[in-house]
């Protein structure tokens, strides 16, 4: 089960398992992001390369307008995924 909620401030809250079968669903939300946005991983248990690609495409698009995703509250396994992929160098992670 994977879910994205957007709060009143426009922050995106991810929960569950962000795997390859969820890319279409995730793109419905990330394609609408046009300014710098906080993405909260607090309730996200898992992410694979498919989820990383959704974030990468969004970050590249935003960077053309000097905007960016700001990622926060990753669990340690997801931190490892980001570090191994070198994504800790291309995202602001709090």
């Amino acid at each position: 089960m994977f879910e994205i909620k957007v709060n009143e401030a426009g922050d995106m809250l991810l929960s569950g398992r962000f795997d390859a079968s969820q890319v279409g669903y995730a793109n419905q939300f990330f394609d609408k992001v046009i300014t710098s946005t906080v993405v909260d991983f607090k309730e996200l248990d898992y992410i694979s390369s498919a989820g990383l690609s959704v974030l990468l495409v969004t970050q590249k698009r935003l960077s053309e307008k000097n905007q960016q995703l700001k990622l926060m509250n990753m669990n340690r396994h997801i931190q490892d995924v980001f570090r191994y992929a070198g994504f800790d160098k291309i995202f602001v992670i709090a």
Binding site: D19, A20, Y46, S49, S53, V81, Y84, A85, G86, K89
Partner: protein, 137 residues
């Protein structure tokens, strides 16, 4: 444990249930569970993406002994593709030089201790071995 899965990205839900059952049966910790999910998803989705017309199911086998978990993925009626020959991923590239794709196999290599490839009689087999840490005494 061994089970066949339809060659479809939407099989992932069923695959994760299969992995969860294995993890629960062997009382494996959440770190191992995360690695198994990631490794199996990345290899399975690669087999689906690069051979989408193939009607054959993909077999996944899971086993554990004292100090390791062994995962085997059998891709029948497939072309040979040795995972060791996959293009090297560069994690140091700046954002503007990056393109989606290529990171999945790199992550498997980082998280898994040993990867073996075998191709015989049209069956492409990838074996992933994850060592289990011994409890500290």
């Amino acid at each position: 444990m061994r089970k066949k899965f339809k060659r479809d990205i939407n099989s992932l839900t069923e695959i994760f249930i299969f992995l969860d059952e294995f993890v629960a049966h062997h009382k494996l910790d959440e770190s191992i569970s995360f690695v198994l999910q990631l490794a199996v998803e990345e290899i399975f989705t690669n087999m689906v993406k690069y051979d989408v017309q193939n009607p054959s199911d993909i077999d996944i086998s899971l086993a554990q002994d004292a100090d390791q978990v062994v995962i085997e993925l059998f891709n029948p009626d497939a072309e040979s593709f040795d995972i060791h020959q996959a293009k090297e991923y560069d994690p140091s590239l700046p954002l503007n030089k990056r393109e989606p794709g290529g990171v999945g196999i790199h992550l498997v290599k980082k998280f898994i201790n040993k990867i073996e490839y075998d191709y015989k009689d049209g069956i492409s087999k990838i074996t992933l071995i994850k060592y289990l840490e011994k409890p500290h005494v």
